[in-house]
């Protein structure tokens, strides 16, 4: 029992401290700009582009897709920087020198970003309803909330894996941005998956977000939680798979770094 409490305390302290360390240098107004204005501008751009291409009747397709995709701001950038930040801040040797439970340390890096990402999607959907005519009157809102949480969780799973990769490369921002923008193509946020070539559809089916976005669209069209539950289970499974892959890579990185003495090199 004592060990469990100790591990949960470690999880909680890790999650709070890594999140604060990531954003403490920002002023509240700047944080607000990244949470409120950037998503709004990105949504507007793709909604205008999409409706220019396929007509105003399809606006909700782009609003929902891009609102849910906003979760990857936290899921990709936030989580990756939380994991990779330890190397930049020079705290990695202390972390790996400590006898603390690695599983708790690793997954603790993502927890606050699940909350943060969920909040980001809620803000984006609010913009959609207030400014872009998104109609959620037939939507099961509790199912939508569950969809947002699960999608954010699975995106954070990918973020954890990317975070481990960030320990191996100096071009973290390149990798992060590449993944973030690629999700705009492959997740179906802006393009119908069915209209993509087969190899692109394959990628769409093995990444997080795709099923979350599809679920949110179905819910907006009036589907029930039972209708979308297979999609949500798959989304959750994909997120867990990416998170575990990240964890094993994290463990491998620690072992290799200790053997080769490459803890702070790339």
């Amino acid at each position: 029992m004592k060990t469990i409490i100790k591990n949960f305390r470690l999880f909680w302290q890790g999650t709070i401290l890594s999140y604060r360390a990531l954003f403490a240098w920002l002023r509240p107004v700047t944080y607000a700009a990244s949470k409120i204005l950037m998503p709004l501008a990105q949504m507007y751009f793709f909604v205008f582009l999409g409706t220019f291409g396929s007509g105003k009747n399809n606006a909700s397709f782009f609003v929902i897709g891009n609102a849910i995709q906003i979760t990857s701001v936290s899921g990709i950038f936030g989580v990756t920087m939380s994991v990779g930040g330890d190397r930049d801040a020079g705290t990695l040797p202390y972390l790996f020198g400590a006898p603390a439970n690695r599983f708790m340390i690793f997954f603790g890096r993502a927890f606050m970003h699940v909350i943060d990402g969920t909040l980001g999607v809620v803000i984006a959907l609010t913009w959609g309803v207030l400014l872009m005519g998104l109609d959620l009157s037939h939507t099961n809102l509790s199912a939508l909330a569950l969809t947002i949480v699960i999608t954010t969780f699975s995106t954070c799973g990918l973020g954890l894996l990317m975070g481990c990769l960030s320990l191996l490369t100096a071009n973290v921002m390149f990798v992060n941005n590449f993944v973030y923008f690629s999700l705009l193509i492959f997740s179906g946020a802006n393009i119908e998956i069915a209209s993509l070539p087969a190899w692109m559809q394959f990628i769409s089916n093995i990444i997080p977000l795709t099923r979350g976005i599809a679920s949110a669209r179905l819910l907006a069209a009036g589907a029930s939680l039972a209708d979308i539950s297979p999609l949500l289970f798959s989304e959750l499974g994909i997120g867990l798979l990416y998170g575990l892959l990240g964890y094993f890579m994290f463990a491998w990185f620690e072992t290799q770094a200790k053997i080769k003495g490459t803890l702070e090199t790339v």
């Binding site: 700009a33 990244s34 751009f45 220019f52 941005n177 590449f178 923008f181 705009l184």
Partner: protein
Amino acid sequence: MNYGNIFKYWRTVLVVAEMSIRSQFSDGFVLFAIVFQPMIIAILALFMLKDKGGDYAMFVVVGSGLTGLWSGLLFVSGNSINVERWTGTLESLIGAPTPFDVIVFGKNLANVFQSLLSMITSYALAAWLFGYSLSLTQPLLFFVTLLISMFAFVCFGLTIAPVFVMYRSVQQWQNAMEFPVYILCGFLFPIALLPNWTTPVSYLLPPYWAAIALHGTSTAYLHFNQIAFCWGMMLIFSVVDLIVASQLFKIMLYKARVDATLDVD
């Protein structure tokens, strides 16, 4: 800024530009902003606008290239002074006998020049991967427009860099400034789709006039008078930007010396 300095120190401008290009090509973020992000936006736009027909491929190539130019201007030119501060070379550059604004001009020139890669890669993507047949409707006018646009972008960048140095709070809005300009300048869709009140804001942005003229000479047969008007607007904005930039540089350097904050981030 003494404008004669650009001609007087033309060799310095070129050397700085060369140095900038060499150093930035090893920076993954810069490569992403000027090559990969415009390519991804081009892929998205080619899928999203495919119902518009094949003519839109060239529109997408130019539009996504412009997104690369703006992102490069915002993130690379915008930080062209800050990056010297971060690497500890700012004091040496300020202390050198070469006017500092000449150095920043060279850096911006390099950035805008290399950002043209975004247009080339988008062209290659649309032509080779998507198989579109691409041609410019008015090639000569397009290349003249491109040169004037480059100059306008360089001058615009000269006003952004000192602002980001002096007002850190403004720089922290950098990420939120990227997409609004894509929207307001009509890079990939006409601004007629936007609410009317935004139109005057578009008119005040040099990239808007670049977009009108580049689209007008690449995919449409814009009348020469209209193209010349866009050129005129870009040149007027360039002159205004240079005047504003000269004042900003004076204030920035004065403040840095008085407050002794040259290397303080």
